[in-house]
């Protein structure tokens, strides 16, 4: 739950007066142009950025309490987050998800069930022992999601997971996320530029540009013209607006 949240970074107000509540089992898509404060909102939810105003509660606790750590999972953009100088197999990567503050000295064999189940869920059994660097973009992103699934996180935050992934993998990835909500009861908050994809999959969409300009069921998400109105983009030429929107996707 986020209430009247304002976050200031440097001297700039990045997001202002944001309020939202996410219920368990929801699949929420967070969209907005570059620099609209999407990542800032996520970092604030995680408690890594301090709010200038307002409050954030996760599972009924203030987000800065650290109590929620471990219950939340973070999925970064695989294309950007894996260091190039590393050889690591899918299984080794997924195993890292089982680490917790209380369990930093992992031993082999422990949590093996959870690791196997996570790998099965993301459908990477066949490449279990393959170096992650040798996988396709889509598989790599699945591996990163598998890492979160091996943890005990119920609330999963994804930052642009669809970047650098071909169409087919994108669709199966979205299907996977949908299943996680429905069958595993996970709550998902996903940032993406790909509005069309999110609209197809998420239950609910939030359009953020400094503050929340739309929050509602995906079916009701405005079309391009409605969005332009929402954003206060003037109709110089309708073509112009079109081009602008395409760039963002």
């Amino acid at each position: 739950m986020v209430e009247n949240l304002t976050v200031v970074r440097g001297s700039k107000k990045v997001i202002e007066d944001v309020a939202l509540t996410i219920r368990k089992g929801e699949f929420v898509g967070l969209v907005g142009p570059n620099g609209s404060g999407k990542s800032t909102l996520l970092l604030a939810i995680l408690g890594f950025l301090n709010a200038a105003n307002g409050k954030i509660e996760i599972y009924g606790e203030p987000s800065t309490s650290n109590r929620h750590l471990g219950k939340i999972g973070w999925v970064s953009q695989a294309a950007a987050s894996l260091p190039p100088n590393i050889r690591i197999t899918v299984e080794e990567l997924v195993r890292l998800g089982t680490l917790t503050r209380k369990n930093m000295f992992l031993r082999k064999g422990r949590n093996q069930d959870r690791i196997a189940k996570a790998i099965e869920m993301v459908g990477l059994e066949e490449v279990l022992h393959t170096d992650v660097a040798r996988l396709s973009g889509g598989q790599r992103q699945r591996a990163v999601i598998g890492r979160v699934l091996a943890s005990e996180a119920d609330f999963i935050l994804l930052d642009e997971p669809l970047v650098g992934i071909d169409r087919e993998s994108r669709n199966s990835l979205l299907k996977l996320l949908d299943e996680l909500c429905h069958s595993e009861g996970k709550t998902i908050l996903m940032i993406s530029h790909d509005m069309a994809a999110i609209r197809q999959t998420a239950h609910r969409m939030i359009y953020l540009e400094e503050t929340i300009k739309f929050d509602g069921p995906s079916e009701e998400f405005p079309d391009l013209e409605g969005l332009a109105n929402l954003r206060g983009i003037e109709h110089v030429h309708s073509d112009h607006v079109h081009v602008h929107e395409k760039e963002e996707e």
């Binding site: 995680l46 890594f48 650290n66 750590l69 471990g70 939340i72 999972g73 973070w74 999925v75 970064s76 987050s81 894996l82 260091p83 100088n85 590393i86 050889r87 690591i88 197999t89 080794e92 990567l93 195993r95 890292l96 998800g97 680490l99 917790t100 503050r101 930093m104 000295f105 992992l106 022992h129 393959t130 170096d131 660097a133 040798r134 990163v144 890492r147 979160v148 943890s151 935050l157």
Partner: protein, 306 residues
């Protein structure tokens, strides 16, 4: 009080003496029989093993030059120690190295300067400090000092042998116990933090371990050549390994071959041990890289994808 060094020597010296008859060369076998040389050999092997484990992480963290930087800082420490007439200048090196590592870590995380630049400043600053104090208050670059620059196994007296072993054992325990956590915080610090792992604390601990391990290597390969054992074997392993675990194993294979072959050649050809070890390590890297490039080009072009 019996130090850890004499205990280790007591256990391993019979083993070394036992295999001495099959050791080739005219001078190299002395490493297996004379106590002073046994100490040097054990120190070299132990230091290589720890450097290999640490090096893999340094490489993944993109901190390959961290070792080099801290080694130069250690030289500054040694110089100050020598000038002050310390019995064990390595302790000064340890102090300098640990403090610098912590400062570099903080400068990087606070984004005061990017990684390379802060390392560069400490590297040159501390090396310069060492050279200046030696020129003014010490005897300049003596043979002993040269030993710290290029490595001199005979500098390893029982006291520094104790220090080297203590650092090595403590670091190995730390790295092995925390290796998953280290990996997690390295690969994706944000995800690790969300998981609840103490990313900052782990980073600081890693810096301290790096600083200590570098100091333990100074007498074996010298401050100028530390990178040879810290990074080269790990980098060679990245060429052939297919998983993190296999990279760890390959690192040890390449590291230990470099050290044993380097010591053998330096003994027989009467060169400095540190420089020969570094040269062998680089040549192993070059051979593996060339063989792999040829293999990829002529035998299995499709493998190029990775």
């Amino acid at each position: 009080m019996m130090g850890i060094g004499s205990y280790v020597l007591e256990v391993f010296s019979p083993v070394l003496e036992f295999i001495e008859p099959v050791i080739p060369g005219d001078i190299f076998p002395y490493f297996f029989t004379l106590e002073m040389f046994q100490r040097a050999l054990i120190a070299a092997i132990v230091v290589t093993i720890v450097a290999g484990i640490l090096g893999t992480f340094l490489l993944v963290r993109n901190l390959a030059l961290m070792g080099d930087g801290l080694a130069h800082v250690s030289f500054g420490g040694v110089a100050v120690g020598v000038v002050l007439g310390a019995a064990g200048p390595l302790w000064y090196a340890l102090l300098f190295s640990v403090i610098s590592a912590l400062l570099i870590h903080e400068m990087q995380t606070r984004e005061v300067l990017t990684g390379d630049a802060s390392i560069g400043i400490f590297l040159t600053g501390m090396l310069a400090l060492g050279l200046v104090v030696l020129r003014i208050w010490g005897g300049g670059i003596t043979t002993d000092i040269e030993g710290y620059l290029f490595g001199n196994l005979l500098l390893i007296d029982p006291a520094s042998f104790d220090l080297i072993l203590s650092i090595s054992i403590a670091s190995t325990i730390g790295l092995v116990l925390l290796h998953h956590t280290l990996l997690a915080t390295t690969i994706d610090p944000l995800a690790a933090r969300v998981q609840g792992l103490p990313v900052r604390g782990i980073g600081l601990l890693f810096s301290v371990i790096t600083a200590a391990v570098v100091v333990s290597m100074v007498q074996v390969v010298g401050t100028l050549l530390v990178t040879a054992l810290l990074v080269t074997p790990a980098a060679t392993a990245q060429l052939v390994g297919r998983s993190f675990r296999s990279c760890m194993v390959w690192t040890q294979v390449f590291g230990l071959s470099s050290v044993l072959l380097g010591l053998y050649l330096s003994a027989e050809l009467e060169t400095g041990s540190g420089s020969m070890i570094a040269l062998v390590a680089a040549m192993i890297f070059a051979s593996v890289a060339i063989v792999q490039a040829l293999y990829k080009t002529f035998i299995s072009p499709s493998e190029n994808l990775a």
